[in-house]
Symmetry: C2
Subunit: 558 residues, 2 copies
């Protein structure tokens, strides 16, 4: 049996002109700003006109703790969107944009896989509609204006040692992590140690993904705390007067990007904040627009449910006023086996016992998602090597948890392999059993919010944090930031902060090494463990074999 690769399937897609995809959603051609023939932005003025329409039903796709075996969360998101359309529900998919830089390190990814993909794949792995470039420009304009302010007299009395705002680049470039700028004499400014993060780690990215409209975008940009004075008074982007120009740079990027699935169903691919130091969800404006246009909206959140679903509920839904109707928890037999202790090389061998053992991880995520008041179904993303006994073991386990697990073959069959899950999702969503509430109230103290997540979601005994961290949180509470939610930056490979601990561990503690204020995005970041915000390239970067072949196609990128 031979399979086509994702890129072969994507290139064979019968794409419709993007204006037709938009027309089917009720978007007039004049309100679609095309980028080539298969991508378009939806105009802000059209979006503004949708406010009074009722919302469709919002479905979150989340997953078990990820392993190298892969869980196929995006593939399932796309497949479920196609499946819902197949059974007659007008459905829009909402996923994140890919970061350009990492594609030149490891091979780039498809958006989805097999027969459940969003296209055009190439463009989505390259510049797409330029959103990330706009974010890079806006971020670095602020950086340049800060140093320029200091250069021309520093009227705001910024403490040069306490400039928090770095620069960004959409590139894997370890040499830029830690740099000294403004060398070379008087005309180049005051030397200062700083660095670059990758663009998806920019607070501007998180802001763009949470902003309601351009006015809200500018307000949030203005709130960014970029530095402190010697007496620790925060200096904001608004003080530097960069918020207006940054908004101008971002005005096109704020408009959601419309593309299509292999089955010609609509997908918004918009925004892509880091899932550790940020909330890891596609843009709120895309999700809210999709809810006005579709009966159903299927979206996903980064990493496993401990991080992705928690942040989706506690940050995105809270801030954007969204009410999810149901959730899908994606699992695979292979990932269950790895969570059950099987090495990657041995995944091809049937082991019902390992699947059963790994199910503890699935069970905990199920409980967690339900604790937000959202009904949940398990989607088993089917692999060729899965055995009936292994699949049955997952189904049996899930049944004991009072839920249902449904085998999905969208990778091989497209929407035809998704009908059962689609019907189940509709059944859950239309009974109206969802009773969504975030995990903690706004007015809980910041430290209590961190402890609540650690205990209720990660099932830790408690949180370890130095006095300096606790004092910093209190200082921010005194400064009026206490109402913000908390964004946990923790390894995605474990409920603990040790990436090697799989399954459903207990008895651990969560050490909070550092806290950061994202006042523009509107959350406090709690950093638990090493978080890399500027990746490096591997010994043999994918870039070395990327090129255009004799037929004019891009090679080596996928």
């Amino acid at each position: 049996m031979t399979f086509k690769t994702d890129i072969e399937i994507a290139r064979a897609a019968h794409k419709k002109p993007i204006l037709e995809i938009g027309e089917a959603l009720g978007i007039p051609a004049a309100d679609l700003l095309p980028y080539g023939h298969d991508k378009a932005k939806v105009s802000q003025s059209f979006i503004n006109g949708l406010a009074d329409r009722p919302d469709g039903k919002l479905i979150l796709v989340t997953a078990i703790t990820p392993t190298p075996a892969g869980e196929g969360k995006t593939t399932t998101t796309v497949g479920l969107g196609d499946g819902l359309n197949r059974i007659g529900k007008k459905t829009v998919i909402c996923i994140r944009e890919a970061s350009l830089g990492p594609n030149f390190g490891m091979k780039g990814g498809a958006a989805g896989g097999g027969h459940a993909q969003v296209v055009p794949m190439e463009e989505m792995n390259l510049h797409f509609t330029g959103d990330f470039h706009a974010i890079t420009s806006a971020h670095n304009l602020l950086s340049a204006m800060i140093d320029n302010h200091i250069y021309w007299g520093n009227g705001l009395e910024i403490d040069e040692r306490r400039v928090m705002w770095r620069r960004v680049m959409d590139m894997n470039d370890r040499a830029l992590r830690d740099v000294v700028t403004s060398l070379g004499g008087v005309s180049n400014g005051f030397p200062r140690q700083t660095g670059f993060d990758i663009t998806v780690a920019s607070e501007v990215m998180a802001i763009l993904c949470l902003a309601r409209d351009l006015a809200d975008l500018q307000r949030r940009l203005g709130n960014i705390v970029i530095a402190y004075t010697r007496d620790r008074t925060p200096i904001t982007c608004r003080d530097i007067k960069a918020d207006g120009a940054m908004t101008v740079l971002l005005k096109d990027a704020m408009q959601p990007n419309l593309v299509q699935t292999l089955e010609n169903n609509p997908a918004f691919v918009h925004g892509g904040p880091f899932a550790n130091i940020a909330h890891g969800c596609n843009s709120a404006i895309a999700t809210r627009t999709a809810l006005k246009l579709g009966d159903y909206v299927v979206t996903e959140a980064g990493f496993g449910a401990d991080l992705g679903a928690e942040k989706f509920f506690d940050i995105k839904c809270r801030k954007a006023g969204l009410t999810p109707a149901a959730a899908v928890l994606v699992a695979t037999v292979r990932a269950m086996k790895m969570n059950g202790g099987v090495a990657r090389a041995d995944l091809g061998v049937e082991s019902v016992e390992a699947v059963e053992k790994g199910c503890a991880n699935l069970g905990r995520h199920l409980e967690n998602v339900k604790s937000f008041g959202v009904p949940v179904v398990v989607a088993i993303n089917h692999f060729h090597s899965d055995t009936e006994a292994e699949l049955q073991a997952i189904k049996d386990f899930v049944a004991t948890q009072g839920a249902e697990a449904i085998v999905c073959t969208h990778w091989a069959d497209g929407s035809a392999g998704m009908e059962d899950l689609a019907h189940k999702v509709v059944a859950m969503a239309e009974t109206g059993v969802a009773n969504f509430a975030p995990l903690y109230p706004d007015d809980m103290s910041l430290m209590d919010k961190i402890e609540t997540i650690a205990k209720r979601i990660y099932r830790a005994d408690g949180v370890i944090a130095d006095t300096s961290v606790r004092n910093q949180l209190k200082t921010w509470e005194a400064a009026g930031y206490g109402h913000l939610p908390v964004c946990m930056a923790k390894t995605q490979y474990s409920f603990t902060t040790d990436p090697n601990v799989r399954g459903a561990p207990t008895g651990h503690s969560i050490p909070v090494r550092e806290v950061r204020l994202s006042a523009g995005a509107g959350f406090i970041v709690a950093i638990c463990g090493e978080i890399m915000t500027m990746p490096g390239l591997p010994r043999k970067p994918a870039a070395e074999t990327i090129g255009i072949n004799a037929d004019g196609f891009v090679e080596g990128l996928f």
Copy 2:
């Protein structure tokens, strides 16, 4: 009498859909890749199919030595394009794209002015179609791959002190001119002093603007000399294996951008290399495509004719196989007065004597352009404050030089103010008197090429260069780079290297401080004086007042 501003006129334009503009040029809709409704790229496959068509006639618009009074070169280029279309000649305008960064320092510029503009102005001052972002990405990917190569063992034995390839950003950021990278320990690489240039100064920009097609682009990218070993052996981009991936990043950027004038005539706005360390012309692929589609193509080159026209003829035309049919030399009464010694504040006062004195500058540029075998006419870009006597003084002077000066009122009247010049240009171009030849042959030594330009164009007595500079040129000749043309980096404000010396000076020498190899672009840069490749922001950056107003329009950018 009140005038509308450029942006008011531009916003009142009756733009046609870009597909209609393309259709009028014979470009099928499927070969136009739209970016919104008023910008589009022309597909590479359509361009490839044009090879056998005859070429239209190429008209260069150049200018006297620029002064703060302004000469209106782009405005005249746009006006002449409209004028030629008005008298029945199918004409395409070819100009450069604007750099994003500087718009946040000083106010951004229109493409043209008054009733001779290219639109959409806003987009052209912002991200436009993303070309410059693609160049930034391609350039910085190479930078990251160089440091990554050194990090993983430095198999090519690059001397870390001799890495010539810096990084770029499309931003005015003086703090990045001179930096130390890779601080912070083993995992961040080897600390190294380097810096950032603004994107338009990237050799990748010059390469994109001279490349014939994607294969030629990749070949040129591969030729870039990025570093030397300890024994001074050059290491190229091809050695680092970055050329393929860079080509992939640039594949869309290589396609010319089609927009329109206020009078709905077609304009290609594509590429924008620095006019000092690079050749300062729009892309060769845009010019060559335009020549296949129009009876006439009107283009311009950066700075005054001493730099712009010389580089256009000796670099762009030589390398791209172009044969100009005529040239237009733009002058204004005001700039003549400034060249004649009048201070800016006194420009409103009639002074025929100052005009006559300033005409020496005009006369020398006229002689220079004619020396390339290209017939030339003077366009006097009319200002409201010009007097008849002043205009007549220029006409009389030009007549003594065996040429004609024509008053053009395109700024106020659009194409109606350009009919006379358009008829004159057609008369010159269609008599076939042009007998273009570059100034020097390929096989002249590099030092002799520099001296030829200095003596024949700048009218200097000679060139001053240290032994180290002369030896470097000989080393490059021995390495096979002796056939390259020379790109002079000199102040645009004078025939000399002193920006304060106006008019038509003699008796000066041209000091060559440094020479650089742009092996990918295919020229040697001779640096004569201070050349800034990363601007800074002023005390009150324009960015502080840029924003989106209550009507949703961008304010403060123009």
